[in-house]
Symmetry: C2
Subunit: 212 residues, 2 copies
């Protein structure tokens, strides 16, 4: 089946045009020009797709309401053609001041990022910028549950990295190492199993980690 | 001082070009082509600006972490000029499946919309679409605090409309009235005072309404 954009242009998947970046990347629409590496354990989904589908599942079974936030953009020019949808003609990506996902689970405020790395033995802190750390710290201080879903793409392993562990390494990064050892994430975090429905059962990991 | 967009074009405020719409409207960037009516009690700010500034204040004093979500858009075409920021060349506004604001306050998940009406005696339910009602219902059922900040622009009055009152009228709208009487909002909700800092002290209203 062919899909068309509101302007009538044919939709063409862009995978073939995409180029891989070198080390690690954030999995969101900003990486349009990068290749989103595929989670083979999850029927060809990217990490973002797998999390979104998990969130849809959790919403459908009324277990949690968690959404990915839209990409922040700065709109510069919009045209309003007659009898047709408004078209954004010029806009720019803005740096996110918060994390990608938030919502509610068991009455708790949930706030997290999803990241993946091609590194085999550690997770680079360069995956975060200071605004995101500050945001998660502020949420944690008010009683929120903050974490990162980390994927090691070389082994297709998924972990929940609790915010407190991330913060410990973040605070030390200027005079110590600039990445979190995978062994530490295995010890302090929770390893997630791939499953069918939802693709990533991360709330089970949250139950375990935070005694919910 | 002159501001320039990343492409070098001069920033020009668009107020003068804007046209007022007839009855009510949602205050967000979608209303770029509409005039955002000004809250005179709030030093010329729109409702959205006043809420955003209040959220910045609450964040600064560590009372709450609440953000407006970015406008959901569907990106169709992006160009990546060399040595310059990526430019979105074609994109469309998408219908929001959630509300505009969410975050954490006193350990609770907070979720709300901001709307204004030029009506004098009632608040039209046409300000909402069913996805937003479903979203707030799901959040409430999981223990979240959901509400709408309603502004009656003719009198510059602000109220917190609790979700339960909205839902009551929403459920009856197909065989009864299609708006909520202002008197009912005054009785069941909380009237908010304009102030200097934050411009809208809506968390005080939340404390009162939900015994926090």
């Amino acid at each position: 089946m062919a899909f068309h954009y509101p302007n009538g242009r044919l939709y063409q998947p862009t995978n073939k045009k995409q180029v891989e970046d070198k080390q690690t990347k954030k999995i969101n629409h900003r990486s349009l020009k990068n290749n989103s590496s595929v989670i083979y354990g999850n029927r060809g989904m990217t990490l973002e797709q797998a999390i979104n589908e998990s969130n849809n599942y959790y919403l459908a079974v009324k277990r949690a309401v968690i959404h990915k936030k839209p990409i922040p953009i700065q709109i510069v020019d919009v045209s309003y053609p007659k009898r047709s949808a408004a078209v954004i003609k010029e806009a720019y990506f803005k740096k996110a001041s918060t994390t990608d996902y938030n919502g509610i689970y068991k009455g708790k405020y949930i706030d997290f990022e999803a990241k993946e790395t091609k590194n085999k033995t550690s997770f680079p802190l360069s995956n975060f910028h200071s605004h995101q750390i500050e945001h998660m710290k502020a949420c944690r201080d008010l009683g929120g549950i903050c974490f990162t879903i980390v994927r090691f793409s070389s082994t297709d392993e998924l972990f929940i990295l609790p915010f407190n562990l991330l913060l410990k390494y973040w605070n030390e990064k200027d005079f110590a190492r600039k990445s979190i050892p995978k062994k530490e994430i295995e010890k302090v975090g929770v390893k997630l199993k791939n499953s069918i429905s939802p693709p990533i059962q991360y709330l089970d990991g949250i139950d375990l980690l935070y005694n919910l």
